[in-house]
Amino acid sequence: MKPAPFDYVRPDSLAQACQLLAADEDARVIAGGQTLVPMLAMRLARPARLIDILRLPELAGIREEKGAVVVGATTRQAQAERDPVIRASVPMLARALPWVGHPPTRNRGTIGGSIANADPSAEIPLVAVTLGAEIMLATTAGPTSMPADDFFVGPMLTAIGQGECVSAVRFPVWPRHRIGTGFFEISARRSDFAFVAAAAQVALDDDGNCVDVALGLGGVADRPLRLDISSLVGTKLDAASVSDAVNAASAGLEAMSDLHASAAYRRRVAGVLCSRTVEQARANAAAKPAKGAR
């Protein structure tokens, strides 16, 4: 369990980090290292050079923009979990984070690291896809960005190119008063990889009618998916309507099969978990005061 030798570089700027990455195809980014270091220890990854971006000031911090919250790539998962801005404006992320690893791994693991790793069962990519987040990238040609849905290509596979680095994630904030979130997952043991994970966010009007809804599913396909259940807008999100909408949205779903769970099991659990998650989100929103009080 000892990694193979590598060079270690800690660049002073993000631009320098991108140049180093562009110049060497055997270079890898390291930030929190909570997934990469086990891969190195088991020698499943053998990069020639590690570029440590954890201390770059450009990648740190959480800031509010118009209609969005931008979370710097090196924000620790534990820090995001406690952050008042995230709890208030991106409540789905706050609800999902306790499911990510364990307290000691969340103290080191970063938001950007989980995004760049693109594990199909990971919680943070699921939240990004469900909310329609924008992945901000630093490249040698300057900053760029792409929708989370385009960023995740397959298992541990993203659209990121050589010389590019995730710099932040831009989560949209819903301009509504009564917002509720839900998050559930099924795994073999606490905080292990999810067989199926579901995330939901709903907005209710003062009468309890659904005005907006988003639902995402992780661990089932080779990347997180957003399910279209917009037919629920205008309903009271009663159990029968939710169940119908979830069944319709997940009808053609292709599920993975592996030694942990069969495709049939994953599809079956997905349906149950989706309904349960939407109901949790509805109850969460309904508990908030009506009449526009925030």
Binding site: P5, Q34, V37, A41, H102, P103, P104, R108
Partner: protein
């Protein structure tokens, strides 16, 4: 590569290979063998140390990444040679350990929790040690140890007149 860090309040430095984990540097370069090497790939929690006060897995951190950090190992908890910290003593009293392999990690995880709060719920304790595997105790006595230590710390930090003369530690729990 040169690494400088503070370990248990003392500035230390060493010249290490970048691939050497903080765990191996603590054990081999600084001879602090209280930090245990278990799975060495981030699953078991035996190697838990505190980095700037937060529990982390020292096998998932290269020593070069820890440059400039304040590291606390199990050796840094006892108030003096031959003595035990309140949490260490509570583990002994409640039989919170058997083989002892997970114990240093468990105690550091508990220490970080009790630095934040001395009134943790049972769920808080379970969450705090959820990343640490114990194969002897079944966890029951470990949770009991942390509850016991929290009760003792509460009493130690309570001004005397607030305590009833006949109130014992057990009742205060």
């Amino acid at each position: 590569m040169k690494v400088s860090l503070r370990i248990n309040g003392v500035s230390r430095s060493a010249d290490v290979e970048p691939r050497k984990t903080l765990l191996d540097v603590l054990r081999e370069d600084f001879l602090l063998n209280g930090t245990h090497a278990g799975c060495e790939h981030g699953v078991c929690g035996a190697c838990t140390v505190l980095a700037d006060g937060e529990p982390v897995r020292s096998c998932l951190m290269f020593a070069v990444q820890a440059d400039g950090y304040e590291i606390t190992t199990i050796e840094g908890l006892a108030p003096a040679p031959g003595e035990l910290s309140v949490i260490q003593d509570a583990f002994c009293e409640t039989h919170g350990l058997q083989c002892g392999y997970c114990t240093s990690g468990m105690i550091l995880a508990a220490h970080a929790l009790l630095q934040r709060t001395v009134t943790p719920t049972r769920e808080d304790i379970v969450e705090a040690i959820s990343g640490n595997i114990c194969r002897c105790t079944g966890y029951g006595q470990i949770i009991e140890a942390v509850e016991f230590a929290a009760a003792r710390l509460r009493i130690a930090n309570t001004p005397r007149p607030a305590l009833q003369a006949d109130q014992s530690i057990v009742e205060a729990k």
